[in-house]
């Protein structure tokens, strides 16, 4: 039997290598991550919108250069691949100290928490879309379901946030379950349209079903969570630092993100994830190898929706106010954009996509009028020039390569196409 090359790169499995080498790799990886994090912090610290635009352009150019250095790029990828644990550790520490760095700036901490909420939501869509390949252009429905459920439970029945949070997730999962049934029969564009129609329809209902959602008045005065008697609206003190109350929400989202990532990772690397992927690749073949399409599609929709709902519930209690305008089509598109820009199926990529899509537009508030224009423009540009997303998973890159290969094969037939010219 031939030698099987399990990791086709310079870095072998960890146990083949000396301790010194491993330590050096880990340090190197830590260096990269800290460097990227500092770049990110600098971006956040720039207050002037024009200066920020310039900075973004600079970082963009740097990223482009980075891509032109395949060895550096590959080295980083290999490091991440081999030292996953180290990466998780470093990222956790960096993200945990974020509120300490911006202790003087409550707005940035708030922004961090808001981004965190959308990371959870985007990771939810990543399960449905990235893993199982089911397009869902109405993800705001689940975000809304979670937000309204948890908010109304707290406002009307005085239900505690810690009960409302999972309930919000479950109600959202139910809404995912609902759309899964019609979605079983359609694919591709049609599936996108069914979910888009579902999203638009639900938003009209949010506005008009006043008994459930208070209509356009919205749900107001949603209480903030408390934990062990500590109110989330009071500041916390750590090591003598006084941190703004938004830090409470920030850490809450951080913990929830960790849980969501762990669940995503475990699902992906299990039978469940493999079944989803098989279904995404070829549902007829998957069906013939014992994969119950109905069950697995419903499961993918519901699981994704659950995290949408969790994000919604936290959102409701953090903002304290829920309005149908929060759940319009643009919300769905933005969530979708987070997944696409991040790179479908890539857990860290999607998380980064969500952070960028929340933070950059917020920091460009000075451009108020042009914000949406820039959003649309950059989305279109990214789709055209980097359709696999900014941080694709390895597998996703392959998928696009294969599509490209197919295209190339087709295009090679083009010479023959003009044997008999039309004009």
């Amino acid at each position: 039997m031939p030698e099987i090359d399990f990791i086709s790169s310079q870095i072998r499995k960890d146990d083949d290598r000396s301790t010194a080498e491993r330590v050096r790799d880990r340090l190197e990886l830590t260096g990269y991550l800290v460097f990227f994090f500092i770049l990110f912090l600098i971006g956040l610290a720039i207050k002037d919108a024009y200066l920020l635009m310039g900075y973004l352009a600079l970082v963009g150019a740097g990223a482009f250069m980075w891509r032109k250095l395949p060895r550096l790029d590959q080295r980083f990828r290999d490091l991440v691949q081999v030292h996953k644990g180290q990466m998780v550790l470093v990222m956790s520490v960096l993200l945990a100290v974020y509120p300490l760095i911006f202790a003087h700036d409550a707005y940035l901490v708030h922004l961090g928490a808001l981004a965190g909420i959308f990371v959870i939501v985007a990771l939810g869509l990543n399960i449905t879309l990235g893993f199982a390949g089911l397009l869902d252009v109405g993800f705001a429905v689940y975000f809304a379901a979670g937000a309204y459920t948890s908010a109304q439970l707290a406002v009307i029945w005085d239900v505690d946030f810690w009960v409302g949070l999972p309930l919000g997730g479950l109600v959202a999962a139910f809404f995912g379950f609902l759309v899964a049934w019609p979605a079983l029969r359609v694919k591709g564009h049609y599936l996108a349209m069914v979910t888009l129609g579902y999203g638009l329809m639900m938003n009209i209902l949010h506005r008009n079903l006043k008994g459930v959602t208070n209509g356009t008045d919205g749900v107001i005065n949603i209480p903030a969570p408390t934990i062990f008697g500590h109110d989330f609206l009071s500041p916390i003190t750590v090591f003598g630092f006084t941190l703004p109350f938004q830090t409470n929400f920030y850490y809450l989202t951080l913990i929830l993100i960790a849980i969501t990532m762990l669940i995503s990772y475990r699902l992906l690397n299990s039978n469940i994830g493999r079944r989803w992927e098989a279904m995404r690749e070829d549902d007829v073949a998957a069906h013939c190898f014992g994969i119950d399409l109905t069950f697995n599609k419903v499961l993918a929709f519901s699981t994704g929706a659950f995290f949408g709902g969790i994000g919604g519930a936290v959102f409701a209690h953090m903002i304290g106010f829920v309005h149908p305008d929060n759940f319009i089509l643009l919300t769905s598109i933005t969530i979708l954009a987070m997944v696409l820009i991040g790179g479908m199926g890539s857990i860290w990529g999607v998380a980064l996509g969500a952070v960028l899509l929340i933070m950059i537009p917020e920091r460009l508030r000075d451009f108020e009028v042009l914000r949406m224009l820039l959003f649309g423009l950059s989305m279109a540009l990214i789709m055209i020039f980097r359709p696999q997303g900014l941080f694709p998973s390895q597998r996703r890159r392959r998928e696009l390569e294969s599509a490209r290969v197919e295209e190339l094969i087709k295009a090679s037939g083009k010479e023959n196409a003009h044997v008999r010219p039309v004009d």
Binding site: C288, R395, E399
Partner: protein, 289 residues
């Protein structure tokens, strides 16, 4: 016209055929793709279905594997018998039938190993909660599954093993066909359905696949295959069934079927039948290396 299927000598232990099909018909709108088909397969047999294009062979496989619902008739599988009529494809696979596809249907962006692991799906448990908790049982299961996957890929020597972690789309055409077979083997089914396993392959590759099918059979698998390549059919099939216009027109040994006037007529038309040529055999490429 249709003879009773003779129990094959290899299936000595089996009292009952593993697959019993009676009066199966399938119509699409007004078109009757399969008509009143009777067929049985003994455990351990290799049975080939031949017939001109459009004679209903692939439709028949789609009925067997649950992709199309049967219009009428009964399909019974295994002992104790379970009816396959009305079952969805995944249930049929769980009972122990696995198939390949004439038009390749691999999972192109999954690795070779993952394709085979999906083939094993019916043997892998591990529900939602166990996967989330990553119980030791699941971890153990996965490890075993990967070992089996490697073992299964080893059936084709280094051809697939060397591509273990490569995506399926990067395989050559012949290797894709091999991977389809490996995926079926991984399923360890009681009945293997091969839909034109050598379509598009060159003579050398065809001969190789022929040996592979023989090996599969000696490993104890029961095989039902559709094939146009008469050299392959002659080489592997213990029994041949000829279809035309969705009905069975002949059944028996390769030579019997090939000399059956109806079969010759189906392939070459009325005149040829009168001339009495051994039609389908002449169809075969010169396959022997």
């Amino acid at each position: 016209m249709t003879k009773d299927p003779r129990p094959s000598p290899e299936a000595a232990g089996a009292d009952q055929p593993i697959l019993r099909i009676e009066g199966v018909s399938k119509s699409f709108g007004g078109i009757r793709a399969v008509q009143n088909l009777n067929l049985s397969v003994e455990t351990g047999e290799v049975v080939a279905i031949i017939g001109p294009n459009g004679s209903g062979k692939t439709t028949f496989f789609n009925l067997l594997s649950g992709l199309y619902p049967v219009t009428s008739g009964s399909i019974e599988f295994d002992d104790p018998p379970s009816s396959l009529v009305g079952l969805p494809a995944h249930k049929i696979n769980e009972l122990g039938i696995a198939r390949t596809f004439q038009t390749l249907r691999l999972f192109p962006n999954l690795t070779v190993a993952e394709n085979v692991l999906i083939g094993m799906n019916r043997h892998l448990n591990g529900g939602f909660l166990q996967s989330l908790l990553r119980t030791p049982a699941i971890v153990e299961d996965e490890k075993k599954a990967e070992e089996r996957a490697t073992e299964t890929l080893g059936f084709f020597g280094p051809r697939l093993l060397s591509m273990y972690n490569e995506p399926a789309y990067s395989l050559s055409y012949a290797n894709r066909r091999r991977l389809e077979i490996a995926r079926v083997l991984a399923s360890r089914p009681k009945l293997i359905l091969l839909d034109e396993p050598v379509a598009g392959m060159n003579p050398t590759e065809t001969a190789e696949i022929m040996e592979d099918i023989k090996r599969i059979n000696t490993m104890g698998f029961t095989v039902l295959l559709i094939e146009h390549d008469m050299a392959l059919v002659r080489g592997v099939a213990e029994r041949v069934i000829a279809l035309d216009h969705g009905t069975k027109i002949a059944e028996g040994s390769f030579d019997d079927v090939c000399n059956d006037p109806e079969v010759i007529e189906a392939y070459l038309g009325r005149g040829a039948a009168a001339a009495g040529g051994a039609a389908p055999a002449s169809d075969a490429p010169e396959a022997r290396p």
